[in-house]
């Protein structure tokens, strides 16, 4: 453990050196050479001469995870690849980030109803930046890397801890990602076509006990105490909504909030 990691809450030494280390880490991001599918070709043309990654210090694609800082998950993660991706993620040295590039790495993309596709890389490893697109244009990937650099600027060395990947248990061994859920006869997740489109309940083809929640990123990033605060607020709002008969707007507001997508995870450090 580095000398900075002895303190458990940010103090004078860590915050003052944060700027220097973050500036250094931000401008020399070495991506791991981890091209999975079609997005890898776009990642390559981003790295090539026309739209260059070297302008951001991210041009050198490190072949082994030992020298890589960023893992750009570019392409479809199949269930067979999930365990290998987790092992590569584990073998990367500590200040590491993950960019999920392309619709497949974000949520399974065009292969939503495939039996061997992992519905998004964030089901097994915590993801920092999502780059949408299928495949995203090189400019979109460069924008993703710039967003990651902004995120690294606000990074703190001791403020919070990265969540443990889903497939790694306490003693650090990685177990195989196997959908034990019985496949046959689970097609009740069909979306009604005719009357108002209800959001399709997320097709948990691979839901099984002890598996990660909907997405590692929704839960992973909220430190315990902030999650506690959010729970109390929700409880208070529900209590207020129950006793106050409340006008239509107030109920509609509550209703809008209920079935929208899970609210944005609060920014871990509470800063703007």
């Amino acid at each position: 453990m580095g000398v900075m990691q002895q303190f458990n809450e940010p103090n004078l030494i860590t915050t003052s050196t944060d700027k220097l280390f973050n500036w250094a880490r931000k401008n020399s991001l070495w991506p791991l050479q981890f091209g999975l599918a079609c997005c890898a070709i776009e990642m390559m043309s981003t790295g090539m001469a026309h739209n260059d990654l070297d302008r951001f210090g991210a041009g050198f694609f490190a072949a082994s995870p030992r020298q890589a800082d960023v893992m750009i998950v570019s392409g479809t993660v199949s269930t067979k690849m999930a365990e290998r991706m987790t092992r590569l993620y584990e073998q990367m040295p500590e200040p590491k980030w993950v960019i999920a590039m392309g619709a497949c790495a974000i949520s399974g993309g065009p292969f939503l109803d495939g039996y061997s596709v992992l519905m998004g890389a964030d089901r097994v490893i915590p993801v920092d930046v999502y780059v949408p697109g299928c495949p995203p244009r090189p400019e979109a990937l460069i924008f993703g890397i710039m967003t990651l650099q902004k995120k690294i600027e606000r990074d703190q060395q001791v403020g919070y801890d990265r969540p443990r990947p889903a497939l790694v248990n306490e003693d650090g061994t990685i177990n195989e990602y196997l959908p034990e859920r019985e496949y046959t006869g689970i097609s009740e997740g069909k979306a009604p076509r005719l009357e108002g489109i209800r959001p399709l309940q997320r097709t948990y083809v691979f839901e099984r006990a002890g598996m990660p929640p909907a997405s590692q990123t929704d839960v992973g990033w909220i430190p315990a105490e902030v999650k506690q605060k959010l729970k109390e607020e929700a409880k208070v709002k529900k209590a207020a909504e129950k006793d106050g008969a409340g006008s239509e707007i107030e109920k509609a507001a509550a209703d809008g909030q209920k079935n929208g997508s899970p609210e944005e995870p609060a920014d871990p450090k509470g800063t703007a």
């Binding site: 091209g35 999975l36 199949s78 292969f111 299928c134 495949p135």
Partner: protein, 395 residues
Amino acid sequence: MLGEERRAEHEGALTEPASGRLVSPDIRDEFGLETIDMNMGPQHPAMHGLLRLILELDGETVVRCDPVMGYLHRSKEKISENRMYPAVIPITDRIDYMHNIAMEYGYCLAVEELLDVEIPPRADAIRALMNEFGRIMSHIPSIGFLLLELGAFTPILYAFRERERIQNIFEAVTGARMMFHYIRIGGLKADLPEGMPETMWSYIEGLEKRLQPDFVDLIEGNEIFISRTRGIGKITQEKAVEMGLTGVPLRCTGVEFDVRKHYPYGWYENLDFDVITDEAGDVEASYRVRMGEVRQSIRMIKQILENLPEGEVLGDLGRRLRPNEGDGIARVESARGEYAVHVVSDGSDTPYRVHYRTPCTVNMQLLQEIVPGHYLPDIMPIMGLIDPVSGAWDK
């Protein structure tokens, strides 16, 4: 030893336990050596995607090579059974993502054979035109990858510069850089924007002038290139045909087979081009065949651009495609070989079964036969010879 229990766990992956036999048994008795098994695993720069080779090495020489695939298996055939006929085209785009347009072409030809519909001539001509542009967009980077794996960094930069320019043309015509979804069942999505043939013409002449200084002079006489590729991955004609190879690995051994010439489809009947073959059957021959095919594609594009037929582009088939019972088989010459699609329909909205015969799956069997006996670093040029795409071999 630690290795023994570990190997039991991997029993399924290895055909038989590591045989331990050496290339030169005389060394074995003096020092009691055994071969070492090693993974050239899914995340490897030279594996053209996600392929895991379990290599049994005696020092540097590969004794046995066992490819393990499935790391990018995206269940495309199951998804194709679950969608309406026109909706399967985006799935076929993602099969061989270096030469996408041929993948769409094969599927649309198969369904058109089921519907036995008449394609307007202009649509056929533009399909062949975009197919040849796609072939150039796939061959030049594969030459670049072959050189990159041998350590030369300049050709890949030139190759991707050409690819960027062709992608600009594709974006102007189809709207997308890689996943075009341009060929539809019965014709095309839209006609060429006006002024497009002129830009294509100027690009093709520019490419023809740039081909010689940027690629051929840089690569052909290079001493390292010759010593690393001549005689590596040698295939005889019987072995190539026996293993069902198609495309560049077959033509570089001298067997003259090209789906565009011998099973003509679409606009290729009235295009004259010759099939490039070579005698040596090694990696250098595959480079020459690829470069020759780029020149043939340029020649074909010029012929199409000269007499582009008039007329509308999309024959109207109505919104709801319901082909009658039966199965349609169509084959197309993609940049990697013969790509065939077998669509079985049972008269409903969705195809009953779609089988994609991707050339990479079949050409990968070369690894099991050819690699044993070569050195470990020779696997890279052999992968350059086959030039597979992981989306295609892991359907």
